[in-house]
C-alpha cells in the first residue's frame, strides 16, 4: 500500500476540513438576501421598466413616420416583415396598404430597426408575447391604407413631431451603429 497511514489519515482530514469549509460557505448563505425576482406580480416596478434602453423586445411600428422605404423588409433575414407600399396613381402619394410583422417568426435580431431612416420600426421593452393562436401573433399595423410619411426639413405637424422626435432619439441611441460617438457612417 502506498502512502500508508499518513495517506489514510490525511485523506480523512482533507475530507473533513473541506466539507467543513464548504458547509461554512453554504451556511453563510442562510443570512444573505436572495436574488430572486418574483416576476410578474411581486415586483416594486414592472420588469419592462427595469430593462435597458437597448432591450430588443416585440417590434412596433409608428405608421405616422413610416416612409415606406422597405429598408426593414429587405434587412430582415427571416422575412417576417411584409410591407405593401404602392404609389397611388391619382394622388401621387406613396400609400401603405399593408405592414405586417409576424411576431411568431421574429427572432428579435434588431437588423430591421437599424436601416430605418426615421426610427419608425423599433423594439419595445415588451416581451410577453404568449398567445393562443398563430394568427394573433401577426401584428397588422395598417388598419386601412394610409399615406407614407414624407421627410421634411423641419417637422411642423404637432401630432407627428413628438413621434418623430422619439424616433430620431431612438435612432441616435439604439439603431445608429455609430452610437453617440458620431462617425462617418
Amino acid at each position: 500500500m502506498v502512502g500508508g497511514f499518513n495517506a489514510y489519515f490525511s485523506n480523512i482530514f482533507e475530507v473533513a476540513s473541506t466539507v467543513f469549509e464548504g458547509m461554512a460557505v453554504t451556511f453563510s448563505h442562510f443570512v444573505r438576501k436572495p436574488t430572486t425576482i418574483q416576476y410578474p406580480d411581486r415586483m416594486a416596478i414592472r420588469v419592462q421598466d427595469t430593462l435597458p434602453y437597448r432591450y430588443r423586445g416585440i417590434l412596433e411600428v409608428d405608421l405616422e413616420i413610416c416612409t415606406g422605404c422597405l429598408a426593414c423588409e429587405r434587412a430582415c433575414p427571416i422575412d417576417c416583415i411584409v410591407i405593401d407600399a404602392k404609389k397611388d396613381k391619382s394622388t401621387k402619394k406613396m400609400m401603405l396598404n399593408r405592414f405586417d410583422i409576424d411576431i411568431a417568426k421574429c427572432m428579435y435580431c434588431g437588423l430591421c430597426s437599424e436601416p430605418c431612416p426615421t426610427g419608425s420600426i423599433h423594439h419595445t421593452p415588451e416581451f410577453e408575447g404568449a398567445d393562443f393562436s398563430l394568427e394573433s401573433m401577426m401584428r397588422r399595423f395598417v388598419k386601412q391604407p394610409v399615406a407614407a410619411y414624407k421627410p421634411k426639413k423641419v417637422e411642423d405637424d404637432p401630432e407627428v413631431a413628438p413621434i418623430l422626435e422619439r424616433g430620431m432619439r431612438y435612432l441616435d441611441e439604439f439603431a445608429d451603429p455609430a452610437g453617440k460617438t458620431g462617425t462617418d457612417s
Binding site: V19, F20, M23, A24, V25, H29, R32, K33, P34, T36
Partner: protein, 399 residues
C-alpha cells in the same frame, strides 16, 4: 395508556359487548392511523417544504412561497396533485410487484415510528429492543426499493435498485457497530432506556461521553445518511446519472409514497441520532416542571422534535453542499474508512467502560469544550465568508 383507556371504555360499557381483543385491535388501528395521518405524513410533507426553502436560501433563491402563508401548504398542493395524477404502469413492467413496491417501502418506514420516543411518556411502544427494531424495520425499505427497481423493467431502475441494495447492506455494518458503542455504555437496547441514562446538558450526552463516541457519532451520521439515500450517498436515484433511479417509471400516488418515505426517513434518522448521542428528550429539571406530567412531557416532546429537526435541516444543508460520491468511492468509504474506525471505536468504548464504568468527567467536559470550540470556529468561518462576499444580509427566514 391506550390499554388503560380501552379497559375503562370496556368497563363502563361504551363499547357494548365487544370482545376485549377486538377492542384492542380497533384501538390500536385507530391510534396507528392517528399517528400516521396526524404526524408521520405531515412531518414528511412539511419536511419537503422546509427542504425546498432551506435549499432555496442556500442557493440565493426564495423557494415556494405562494400556496398558503409563505408557501407552507405547498407540500399539500403537491401531494394532492400527485394523488390525482394518472398512474402510468409501463406495459412491460411486472404490474403486481410494481404496485407492491411502494407499500413495502412505506410499511418499512412507518413501522419504525413505533419505537421513536418523543418524551418520557409519549412513545407508541417502548420496546426493550427499540433501536434494533428500528434498524431492522428500515431494512424493509431496501427490499421495496429493489422490488421497484426490478419490477419497472427499466435498466436505469434496475441499476438504481442494485446500487441501493449494495449501499444499504454495506452501510448497515458500520452503522450497527457504532450504535453498539452506545449500547455498550447503556447496557440496554430500549430507546427510552438510552435516553434516561443521558442528561440535559451537552456534557451528559453520549456524543461527549468519550473520544470514541465522539467519533462514533460522525460514523453513525454518515452511515445513516447512506442508508437513507441522502447526498452525498444518493446514488440509487442519482438524477444526473440514472434519470431517477428506481423511481424512474413511477408516477402519481406511487411516486408520492417513495418520496414520503424518503423525506420521512430523514426524521427517523435524526431521531435515532438524537436518541443515541444527543440526549433525546432530556430537559433540565426545573422545580415545578417535574410535578406536572403534562408540561413536562410537552417540554420534552418539544425538545426532542426541535433537536431532531435540527438534524433534519443539517441533512438538507449537507445535501445542498456536497457532490455525490461514485460507487467505488462509496464502497471504499464504507469498507476502508468507516468500518475499521467503527471497530476501533467499539473496542475503545469497551475498554473505556471497563475503566470508567460511571464515565470520566474530565473527558466529558473536555470533549464538550472541543465541540463548542468547533462550533465557534465554524461561525468564525461563516462570518469570514460573509464579509468577503460583501453580500446584502437579511436575517428574516421569510424573504
Amino acid at each position: 395508556m391506550l390499554q388503560q383507556f380501552l379497559d375503562s371504555l370496556i368497563a363502563d360499557g361504551t363499547l357494548g359487548g365487544m370482545p376485549r381483543d377486538v377492542a384492542y385491535l380497533i384501538g390500536m388501528l385507530g391510534a396507528g392511523a392517528l399517528v400516521v395521518f396526524g404526524f408521520v405524513l405531515n412531518i414528511s410533507g412539511v419536511t419537503t417544504f422546509v427542504e425546498r426553502r432551506v435549499w432555496a436560501r442556500i442557493q440565493s433563491r426564495i423557494g415556494p412561497n405562494r400556496v398558503g402563508p409563505q408557501g407552507i401548504l405547498q407540500w399539500l398542493a403537491d401531494g394532492i396533485k400527485l394523488l390525482m395524477k394518472e398512474e402510468a404502469i409501463p406495459f412491460a413492467a411486472d404490474s403486481a410487484l410494481f404496485k407492491l413496491a411502494p407499500f413495502v417501502v412505506t410499511v418499512g418506514f412507518i413501522t419504525a415510528f413505533v419505537a421513536v420516543p418523543f418524551s418520557s411518556a409519549l412513545v407508541i411502544a417502548d420496546l426493550n429492543l427499540g433501536i434494533l427494531y428500528i434498524t431492522s424495520m428500515t431494512s424493509l425499505v431496501v427490499v421495496g426499493i429493489m422490488i421497484a427497481g426490478w419490477a419497472s423493467n427499466n435498466k436505469w431502475s434496475l441499476i438504481g435498485g442494485i446500487r441501493a441494495a449494495a449501499q444499504i447492506v454495506s452501510y448497515e455494518i458500520p452503522a450497527a457497530l457504532s450504535i453498539f458503542t452506545v449500547i455498550l455504555i447503556t447496557g440496554t437496547l430500549s430507546m427510552q432506556g438510552i435516553i434516561q441514562q443521558q442528561g440535559w446538558g451537552p456534557w451528559d450526552w453520549f456524543i461527549f461521553h468519550s473520544p470514541f463516541t465522539f467519533v462514533g457519532f460522525f460514523i453513525t451520521f454518515v452511515s445513516l445518511l447512506a442508508e437513507g439515500n441522502r447526498t452525498p450517498f444518493d446514488l440509487p436515484e442519482a438524477e444526473s446519472e440514472l434519470v431517477a433511479g428506481f423511481v424512474t417509471e413511477y408516477s402519481g400516488a406511487r411516486y408520492l409514497f417513495f418520496f414520503l418515505v424518503e423525506w420521512g426517513n430523514l426524521y427517523v434518522i435524526s431521531a435515532i441520532l438524537v436518541t443515541l448521542f444527543l440526549g433525546g428528550w432530556q430537559v433540565p429539571m426545573i422545580p415545578g416542571l417535574a410535578e406536572s406530567p403534562f408540561w413536562l412531557n410537552l417540554t420534552q416532546a418539544v425538545t426532542f422534535i426541535v433537536k431532531s429537526y435540527a438534524g433534519v435541516i443539517t441533512m438538507m444543508w449537507i445535501r445542498a453542499t456536497l457532490p455525490r460520491v461514485r460507487v467505488d468511492q462509496l464502497m471504499s468509504t464504507c469498507w476502508k474508512y468507516l468500518l475499521p474506525i467503527a471497530f476501533v471505536n467499539f473496542m475503545g468504548t469497551a475498554l473505556w467502560v471497563l475503566i470508567w464504568p460511571e464515565g470520566f468527567r474530565f473527558a466529558e467536559l473536555a470533549l464538550t469544550l472541543l465541540g463548542f470550540s468547533m462550533v465557534v470556529y465554524f461561525f468564525y468561518r461563516v462570518v469570514f465568508h460573509l464579509r468577503r462576499s460583501g453580500a446584502e444580509l437579511t436575517f428574516s427566514p421569510l424573504s
